[in-house]
Symmetry: C2
Subunit: 131 residues, 2 copies
Amino acid sequence: MELESIYTNDRAVGQERSLGVDWVVDARLCSAPALRDVATIDGVIAQILSLAALHPVSAPIVHRLPEGGIAMIVLLAEAHLAIHTFPDRGAATLNLYSAEWRTDFDWRSALGAWLGARDVHVRRILRGEFS
Amino acid sequence: MELESIYTNDRAVGQERSLGVDWVVDARLCSAPALRDVATIDGVIAQILSLAALHPVSAPIVHRLPEGGIAMIVLLAEAHLAIHTFPDRGAATLNLYSAEWRTDFDWRSALGAWLGARDVHVRRILRGEFS
């Protein structure tokens, strides 16, 4: 209910000025093995895209760091999704940007289930609108 | 000078909790032809990486939208850079994330020079620190 009213307000502010929404998500107290596992991180990407009903325009790019961290990014037509993991610190950072409004979802539950994250901080940033 | 003191403060807050910095940049009143030109946008990406002393781990992914907009993203070891352009609105959104501290640069002058942007809004978001 609360989320719905936020969306209604945003539209009222003037959708024509909007350049979309960024979700800036920091996850801590995650499972280190999950953060080191490319298949797990690839699954996180796939599940977020599915939940947000977003369609990639190419396969994800993956980079594995010497100390076990993973960086993965995927491009969409007017959006992108990126994750960077830090297994030695039990942390991951995620960015989801979409130029179009999308229904938000429960990042805390999702990252709890997928990465074992017990501390998830979500910031939702309106692009193109500065108040 | 002001930027330097911000950096000093961040470190004092506790660098160990930091998961890096996001620059969330919205540019308006840009040159529409520049926003439609893949070579120009590719040059913007290259120049930002050079200014920020960041090194990509793979070539940028590029996607051209039917109405002329361009989406481009590049992955770095512990960072990423993305740009989406909206020529019919004279706008572009940029995201630069780096897990390590980097010297900031003058986004307004740079995007003014490269894209003709006359309205640039920069937000600098500390990852992993919420006060």
